[in-house]
């Protein structure tokens, strides 16, 4: 049972000091979680702290590769609207 940081991480450092297990470390191209240390905050906090402060949707996933913060959940931008905006920008 461990969380994972994936490539959309922007290296903002917010998660690192919050981890009760010191499982998060700086790495290139992005921060990583030591799977052996990660407890998903069980016993320490109700919510996994890294995913609770992370500002980037999809940057932290569970063992099933599911994002803890799915698209639209943090920005409030509906995914369909986001996709439409991207299409409009590239059509310019």
């Amino acid at each position: 049972m461990a969380l994972e940081i994936v490539e959309s991480c922007v290296n903002c450092w917010a998660c690192l000091p919050l981890c009760p297990s010191q499982a998060i470390y700086e790495a290139k191209p992005h921060f990583l979680i030591d799977a052996d240390r990660c407890t998903e905050c069980a016993g320490d906090y109700a919510d996994p702290q890294c995913a609770t402060i992370c500002p980037i949707e999809g940057a932290i996933v569970n063992e099933l590769n599911e994002p803890l913060n799915p698209p639209g959940s943090l920005t409030g931008i509906p995914p369909a609207r986001w996709a439409q905006a991207q299409r409009e920008i590239s059509a310019r």
């Binding site: 922007v10 917010a14 919050l18 609770t52 980037i56 920005t75 609207r81 986001w82 905006a85």
Partner: protein, 507 residues
Amino acid sequence: MDLPVIRTGGCSAGSCGSSAAQTNGLPDDIRRRVENHPCYSEEAHHHFARMHAAVAPACNIQCHYCNRKYDCANESRPGVVSELLTPEQAVKKTLAVAAAIPQMSVLGIAGPGDPLANPERTFATFRMLAEKAPDIKLCVSTNGLALPECVEELAKHNIDHVTITINCIDPDVGAQIYPWIFWKHKRVRGREAAAILIEQQQKGLEMLVAKGVLVKVNSVMIPGVNDEHLKEVSRVVKAKGAFLHNVMPLIAEAEHGTFYGVMGQRSPTPEELKALQDACEGDMNMMRHCRQCRADAVGLLGEDRGAEFTMDKVEAMELTDEFLAEALARRAALREKVAAEREAKKARAHAPQPQQAVITLHRPSQKSALAGRHVAPEGRPVLMAVAAKGGLIAEHFGHAREFLVYEVTGAGAKLVGHRKTDLYCAGDDSCGEAVDVLGRTIEALEGCEVVLCSKIGYEPWGRLEAAGIAPNGEHPLEEIEPACVAVWHEMLQAGKLAQPAPERKCA
């Protein structure tokens, strides 16, 4: 805090004009504390430079005008950086910048996240810099969520300028601006989140004021969301002792990937921004010269030199004690020179004036405030754009990356804003899209009737005239305010000020 209201008192002579507006009438100790700070004193921003050290990447809230993924070298707006620094790197960079730019007077930490969500990195930077360059003022800009718990530490580090971004005091308004905050190990959303943030901001403001720290309040004007509400915000923060209020326009483009940008929330027009700033000014000292700079900006406001001080260049420099001592001496000499120039300017301004130089008031439109035997001539206010450098009309039209906008009457000229010519990454050369730069510049000057610059080419002259803007190159290297007033008098004599401003022809 009941600071004397600045604009009604103060200097009564021609060339003090708006540049004195922000500091005249302040108690001496406060004036001394802001006179060399470009972000706190309009007059200082012509002469002094600042830099932002991007040491604070983490944030504890999300704002709908921010996108944490963004990094573009061509962008200039808060929250954007190209290079994150460690505190050690930040100190070295600051020392290098302060050695190369003797105008450097301030190190601010403003992100790219929130400085107080990164307290170790922020305070380590301040601690180390204070040892090596004690003449550099330190300041922070924060969203306020972690402010109450940091006030002691801020005071300990001798940080006497703090900016808090306060966009609302009503949680229902806040719920439309902040989707979430990180609070006590939880992600809190909606109205509840906004209520906590607002409470922390107000508490932090009160605590700072009680400690004697100068507090500036920044607000982002979001049409239809908080524009009307900001008048109330202005009243409240002033009553609690904030020293200066800076209402800034929302920056929202779909390509920035922010909530507001993608959802089509519009930015205010320059006219709307000015109207709100004018309305808030009834209650407090307003800042009109903010450039909404990047979290890694370097140099004078409006003239970013960040590219000269990338970390690889800074790392290659050797900063010996001797070198740093020389740099410190150069800065001290420059400050003395500016102080002497200010004194000389003040002396000139207070000397007997020819009768044309009527009283300068800080609210020139208020005729009732005119005193004594001077009477301002009748005529409507005119917006004039100025290609400025160092407080003078000293920039070539084609080289100006921004124009200062003054509202001018016979009684004086007041800075009311600025217009950028390289509009936020709107497709300039580096983005590979061919655009009509001159046409864009003319569009940016919407509402201005005159452009003052040191020189101007034949083509832009014609295009400006065709767009209903009068180019004026007759006051090169002159001080801005008296030159603007002189141009206004010419317009008055030519009978141009009896009617309302002409409708703009399409550029």
